[in-house]
Symmetry: C2
Subunit: 487 residues, 2 copies
Amino acid sequence: MKMFIQRNSPLPLHQQIYHSIRDQIVSGLLTDGDQLPSIRQLAQQLQVSPMTVVQAYRLLEKENWIVQVQGKGSFVRTQEPSEETQPSPFAWQKKISNNLIGARYPSFYHWPVEYPMADSVIDPELLPNLFIEQELIKLLSQDPRSLSRYSEIQGDFHLRSAISKYLQKLSIHTSPEEILITNGTQQAIDLVTRTFLQPGDLVVTEAPTYAAALDLFKSQGVTLLSVPVDEEGMKISNLMRIFSQKTPKLIYTIPSFQNPSGVTMSRKRRQQLIELVQNTTTLILEDDPWSELYFEKKPPEPLFSMDTQGHVIYIKGLSKILAPSCRIGILLARGPIFHQLLTMKGNVDLGNPLLTQKAILSIIQTERMQRHLEKLRIALQLRRDYLIYCLQVYMPAGVKWHKPLGGLNLWVELPEKVNALTITEQAKEQSVSVLPGTICYPYEEGGDRFLRLTFASLNEKKIEEAIRRLGVIIYKALNAPSAFANA
Amino acid sequence: MKMFIQRNSPLPLHQQIYHSIRDQIVSGLLTDGDQLPSIRQLAQQLQVSPMTVVQAYRLLEKENWIVQVQGKGSFVRTQEPSEETQPSPFAWQKKISNNLIGARYPSFYHWPVEYPMADSVIDPELLPNLFIEQELIKLLSQDPRSLSRYSEIQGDFHLRSAISKYLQKLSIHTSPEEILITNGTQQAIDLVTRTFLQPGDLVVTEAPTYAAALDLFKSQGVTLLSVPVDEEGMKISNLMRIFSQKTPKLIYTIPSFQNPSGVTMSRKRRQQLIELVQNTTTLILEDDPWSELYFEKKPPEPLFSMDTQGHVIYIKGLSKILAPSCRIGILLARGPIFHQLLTMKGNVDLGNPLLTQKAILSIIQTERMQRHLEKLRIALQLRRDYLIYCLQVYMPAGVKWHKPLGGLNLWVELPEKVNALTITEQAKEQSVSVLPGTICYPYEEGGDRFLRLTFASLNEKKIEEAIRRLGVIIYKALNAPSAFANA
């Protein structure tokens, strides 16, 4: 059993073991009836004292994740015991060692509920479906053969050219040669992880941060440290303290309208960050999911543009704001590392499909793109304001939030004693999905007091109903009655 | 510098070091002027004697890959020295350690030549572009919103349902729940590699085999052994000898119209293979790129269908025979390992694009698919026959081949003293691409006597011109005149 255990973590070892095993159960990698390693085995494997494992197993048993059977060992007990009594012919497969440590993000991904507020997704009403559809039909009618062509591993040259022009509007001056097309941002993070990260490397993230990136970094066995964000973004003073002890291999940051907190890193902090890594071998992975979606003023220029030495790898999702069904991300890098990332892309899938690249090409090439973004900014700002209005109306005192100046999400702080995971589960029963802050921190430290809500996926009527339902649940958690319980 | 070095390999260690460094240069990971580790450093890192490194460096110097400068060290010298004299601001990046060992396959991938015979690609003339285009236009017109939807991580349920029905024709009885949609077969191999393979694990492949799979297995640091194929496929007796010493973690096989040799594993061997792994923990990765494309009779049923214990993971490319621009592969597995592979898919990219899945859905659902395959089989058989006719006419004595009974490729054996890599380079100058057998063996052992030619990508006229050009080159390599040199 592979585990994510770190000796320099603020979390006690027994709690780390507890989290690791719980993550595997939640991810479905350990299932009902699976036997856990004996206390002695696991203590030996992880080089911890047997008492540490005993404490972890007790904690798991207390929360009903496992049962310990005298003389037999410890077994996983999932919430809904399966009725199957027949032994499975595939049970032997459990003996095959694997490289998985459990992934927390997919457990919350795209729940099929009536009011989805967990995923950073834009309401299709606000997307240029018709324009893209018509352009794609035009392309296919003129050139059906395009269905038979492969893309270059690096990505279609025409799309890369169009993107390099588009990026100028974001203060990024680049060329098609520095752009790699990826299967969404997720693959871009994965390519960086796989190309450069090695067990024991130090990786620094913001806290909170994008949960799926944490899953990837953990799976590579790195040492993970996090730096809190305030109104100006990542606290560079904390980062300096880390540098004074050890040089990180990678810093992962989302400087503009940070996911999930919504805050934007100030220009000064950006400059400090770039200065900090000069003359080190640290790479910065700059994730820019939605800096175009500002409501008041443009965020400061990206780190990638401030960097002249090739420390910054810039990644961006493109299809989210256009046509999510195309799943297209980009990665920008300069110098030898670009070729290394390209080699890895060849290894892992030999390149993106061409059809999806062609599908978004025409809108990116035209002025239509800027008009679409202008409309989108206005629409999203209205929805953000409406979400805040609903929170003011339907939430009990003690629920707080930070007003984001762009992006898709609002970060909500719950009153003390209200647990984010519990609220998430109860909301699901009411057909509302929310993202628990728990999974946005490496060790859940304090994250159970936060929820991420998107204001982009639902119209105003639906936002109101979702927040009404959520308010009722949070009132109940505080043992207080909501005035809107039976609306 | 990461290297692929194995103590139990038939190849002497100094040659393995030579190959590893050469692969990195060919892959562009090491470039002009890069300094290699000192002899002492590398000897220490690899735990070999300094003389072994000296021998490797001498071999590299002899072939002009590197230069050794007295008192300074050894430096990469690429074929075309760059004219840049300005030191690059990104040179420091070379100090960042990475996980790449070099990939041989992408160096030969999709060369932009007039006569491409290197890639297993089907001539667009033979693909149902028009039908797929019309169905896609219909879908987009009826439901432009489909551009805004995400796919499940596992893949679109409707596509998985249609595929499970389609697979019945290939004697595979499965359900949508056992199918995972991947970004081409390449990603399917990668998911298996990443989920299950660990450094030191034993992986067995056929020799020769699919070059890009070798790249992936090597990059995971496994121990690689290969088993030759004869007219009945993988030699099971050799495999048994391996099992008597150590149980492999994975066996990678392409049983039907093997890539690149074209041979098909007999039913008897398939049964023996399945029997061999029973009651072991060995997984079989069955790659079935084109078993539908048989010219005389259907190949025996897949290993996946003979296996009742869940040892076989079956993977298949689907877009190659329909619409390569969609890049869709599938992976089938039963038991807990399926969920593990699905978890890895979530980690690496959160799922395929939906648009490309919808694009091939309608043809797979209809009878049209079978009609398309019937026509394709006939067309490909004619081209195979024509390729063989051209080889008979244009090739010197001593060039041999095995007549494939299906698939897209023909495996050509060159006369002694004719080197595949040299021929490949010279053919490129004549705008003909061929795949050198060299990269289809883990250590190139004997592979430099083979070429893989596809008969699927060109029409008869182009096949003839390509083979005429290739014939002239091979005649020249034998110091013999071709009668067709100036056709």
